[in-house]
């Protein structure tokens, strides 16, 4: 049972890496909950779910009837009471789409003012994330943007590893430092860096020298197979031996 959060600046290949990690964990025989908490959710495609299946997925935050039933509030109502600890333990199993031992759950975009907002929809999402990270008995990998809006300090402490994906460039490294700072405030102890789109030793050294104060879990090569997999709707973990071994090495370093 591992609780992993993956974040990184947009475009660094965060979702691609998360999908590889999820497949690698599933490949070990684990049941994995793949949680898509990105406001622009594309993890389902990266995991190889069919377009038809994806078109039928409703993000949890848009399940108005479920939210009303569980929180006792009317969706969109402010200034009236709702339950902040709705029952959510059945949601991962009931509302996820399955492929082998991968269970995919699309969270949807947090509403309103983000972190400080306590409307019923956000309370539902936060309760669900808390349950997944703190109480869920299976492995959970969450693909998220900055790692702060879905979880507070109580939940963050349960995260086994926050993996920050970077590419060999100063912008994504700068963003990674910010994520790391926020994660530190939340109390996440284990922060790992994964260098993605790495083309040779020069790129590896660039990341190492600029992030010497971070734990670097490993590197993922710049590989055309990622583009091919996306175009063909194929699973990168299955078609690229190189990527598969890279992510498996990273896993060994993290756990």
């Amino acid at each position: 049972m591992k609780k992993i959060a993956v974040c990184g600046k947009g475009g660094v290949g965060k979702t691609t890496f998360a999908s590889l990690l999820i497949h690698a964990l599933a490949d070990e025989g684990r049941t994995v909950y793949a949680i898509d908490a990105d406001p622009n959710p594309t993890l389902a495609e990266a995991l190889g779910f069919s377009a038809d299946t994806i078109s039928r997925i409703t993000p949890i935050i848009e399940m108005k009837t479920l939210i009303e039933e569980r929180t006792g509030a009317k969706s969109g109502e402010y200034g009236s009471y709702f339950k902040m600890n709705p029952t959510v333990k059945d949601i991962p199993a009931e509302y996820s789409v399955k492929k082998g031992n991968i269970n995919y759950l699309m969270m949807g975009c947090m509403r309103g003012a983000g972190k400080g907002c306590a409307c019923a929809e956000n309370a539902m999402l936060r309760s669900l994330v808390t349950h997944l990270m703190v109480k869920e008995k299976e492995t959970v990998v969450m693909d998220m943007v900055a790692g702060t809006e879905h979880m507070g300090r109580g939940t963050a402490k349960a995260v086994d590893s926050l993996i920050v994906v970077v590419e060999p460039g100063i912008r994504s490294i700068k963003a990674a430092r910010e994520f790391s700072k926020m994660a530190g405030v939340l109390g996440i102890k284990n922060i790992h860096v994964v260098g993605n789109k790495v083309n040779g030793l020069d790129d590896e050294n660039y990341i190492k020298s600029n992030m010497s104060d971070f734990k670097i879990a490993g590197f993922m090569p710049l590989n055309s197979s990622a583009v091919i997999a996306e175009r063909q709707g194929a699973v990168l973990f299955e078609i690229s031996q190189k990527m598969r071994s890279s992510v498996q090495n990273i896993m060994k370093n993290i756990f």
Binding site: T71, G72, A73, K74, S75, G76, E77, Y78, G79, S80, Y81, F82, K83, M84, N85, G112, A113, G116, C117, A118, C119, A120, A123, R126, S127, T130, V134, K135, M151, G152, R153, G154, T155
Partner: protein, 589 residues
């Protein structure tokens, strides 16, 4: 979804838009004038029937009874006739002509006092001497042009040599007509007609009228709604069922004319995110008040008819209601600004989220972070064991949400939040509160009637959350007197507003009752007023329901959320404006 919202919004706008149509049933602040022009052998017979609404009846009464002897004598009627003729433009072949007074009939003084104001005047206009050629007769009624509803009836008489060749009337207003007529015996007529140049103004419809044509009249039912009921009462044509059905229909239509609390109901429901039951409740309260006010006012007016004219009391009542509405509007705005009235919460606090058999912990929007430690700790085994020991079903963490969605001053938001927390504590079911608001504890202590509840400023760890839960669990069996309202419908708010809306006097319904009383048919009048009010209720409930359901559809849109915070203030402003309008409109009576 979007299209559906647009459709329902359009429906609301159409419904509200109907208010600008005065409808023929709103006769009391209008005057119906029916003109008859008949080409008889001895001249043009002109009849003018004036059916004044109750508010204008008072004005006509003063002209008709100049000597104040409460009898309409011959001299009185002739004076009135002069007043009417001064408002007419009559020309034959472009030469001004004066009509000769030929007689009149009118309602009695008592009927005028009761609001039934009818007078019929008859005149004769002699033909010109050179009738052999084609002549034109021009008629225009300028009397009460602002508030009158005109109708024209024109015909020549069967067997008479005088025949109408054509008429040009203002089809929309029916207040003027030019009639071309001739002596049919003349052989020059047809040739002369064909030589006449056509000078038809664009907006004037030309109707060729065949000789002996049926008079062109507006249907009786269009002339007056409530006036028609009065007429039926007056003439004794009383088929009880027909009258009741008519009263319901007219009451329904009547609700769409200005006033009647319709806008009040709409504004209130929009601002407060009303429910269907509230729409129903508010509509019924307005109607019951309306019926009751007519009964009471009708009784008083009938008793005092010889001292005060009903038409004078109506505007007084309107001003009194206006003042009441302004006071409610100002009070509502002040309460919101000082935080006494909570946005939505006064009517929909959703307190049913609190569970009597649970440990209820309130976490307000300022302390949302704390809830996470509580959620995690509440699942622990030790908590479950203690819950079982205490006989409680579970831990219920509740929140009224944050105020980030409401665009209101911070002070008002804080006060409203405090009020919301206190509303929940009043139920007796709250075991602990987490709130960063430092003033909350002091305010709660000042309110002695509130149960004593521990307030935690924040929870920064699971240890602190565990301590809160331990305390709350230990006190669970000590609490008593729990009253969790099933539904947040606040009748305390609805009733005064419904009364204010319904107390606005409705002259039409009152007129029906007053005429019934003056004719000794009191029971029938009361029944009709009740049926009339039922129709009115149906219309108000329909409007209310439409608003409630369209409101639900659009409530999720971001644009709506932005304005939702301001709606209660608009509602208060609207009430003030409505009240001021009612006062200004009637202050000069």
């Amino acid at each position: 979804m979007h299209n559906k919202s647009v459709f329902i919004l359009s429906l609301v706008l159409i419904l509200l838009g109907i208010t600008s149509v005065p409808a023929f049933c709103h006769i009391n602040d209008e005057v119906a004038m029916r003109t008859g022009i008949f080409f008889e052998d001895e001249g043009i017979a002109l009849t003018l029937e004036i059916d004044a609404g109750m508010l204008f009846g008072q004005y006509y009464l003063e002209i008709l009874d100049l000597d104040r002897d409460e009898i309409f004598g011959t001299e009185d009627v002739q004076k009135f006739s002069e007043f009417v003729v001064a408002g007419l433009r009559l020309r034959i072949n472009d030469l001004k002509v004066l009509p000769e007074f030929a007689g009149a009939s009118c309602a009695s003084f008592e009927e005028f006092v009761a609001g039934f104001c009818y007078i019929k005047l008859c005149y004769i206009i002699p033909y010109p001497e050179d009738l052999d050629r084609v002549c034109t007769f021009y008629y225009e009624n300028c009397l009460e042009a602002e508030i009158a509803i005109y109708s024209l009836s024109i015909s020549d008489t069967a067997g008479s040599p005088i025949s109408i060749i054509k008429e040009e009337r203002n089809e929309i207003l029916q207040d003027s007509v030019t009639i071309t007529f001739s002596n049919a015996a003349s052989t020059d007529v047809q040739a002369e007609v064909t030589q006449q140049p056509s000078q038809e103004p664009v907006e004037v419809a030309v109707v060729e009228v065949e000789s002996k044509a049926q008079p062109v009249m507006l249907p009786e039912t269009e002339l007056a709604g409530s006036a028609m009921l009065i007429n039926r009462l007056k003439t004794g044509e009383v088929n009880f069922l027909v009258l009741i059905v008519l009263a319901v229909v007219i009451g329904f239509l009547h609700a769409f004319t200005p006033g009647h609390g319709k806008s009040l109901v709409g504004a209130y429901l929009v601002a407060n995110r009303g429910t269907a039951s509230q729409a129903l409740g508010l509509g019924l309260i307005v109607t019951l008040t309306h019926t009751a006010s007519i009964y009471v006012f009708g009784g008083l007016a009938s008793a005092a008819a010889y001292f005060f004219m009903p038409s004078k009391i109506v505007p007084v009542m309107t001003v009194v209601s206006g003042v009441l509405v302004v006071i409610i509007g100002i009070w509502s705005a002040v309460r919101r600004l000082i935080g006494l009235e909570v946005d939505h919460a006064h009517i929909l606090p959703n307190l049913k989220v609190l569970k009597e058999d649970h440990i209820n912990i309130l976490v307000d929007g300022s302390a949302v972070e704390s809830s996470e430690f509580l959620i995690i700790e509440a699942e622990e085994d030790w908590v479950q064991k203690q819950l079982q020991a205490a006989g409680a079903e579970g831990i219920n963490i509740c929140s009224p949400g944050c105020e980030t969605h409401n665009f209101m001053p911070a002070i008002a938001a804080e006060r409203q939040n405090t009020q919301l927390v206190m509303t929940a504590v009043e139920t007796g079911a709250v075991d602990a509160i987490v709130s960063r608001r430092s003033g909350l504890a002091e305010k709660m202590q000042n309110k002695k009637s509130l149960p004593n509840v521990d307030i935690y400023l924040s929870l920064d760890s699971r240890i602190e959350a565990a301590e809160l839960l331990r305390q709350a669990l230990s006190k669970y069996n000590d609490r008593d007197g729990i009253t969790i309202p099933e539904e947040g419908l606040s009748w305390k708010k609805l009733i005064p507003l419904g009364i204010a809306g319904g107390a606005v006097p409705c002259p039409d319904a009152l007129a029906i009752l007053l005429v019934s009383v003056s004719l000794g048919r009191v029971a029938l009048g009361l029944g009709i007023v009740f049926a009339f009010s039922t129709g009115l209720a149906a219309a108000l409930v329909l409007i209310g329901m439409t608003i409630v359901f369209s409101n639900k559809l659009i409530s999720g849109t971001s644009g709506y959320r932005k304005i939702a915070g301001f709606l209660p203030y608009f509602s208060a402003l609207f009430l003030i404006g409505l009240g001021v309008y009612m006062i200004i409109n009637n202050i000069g009576f």
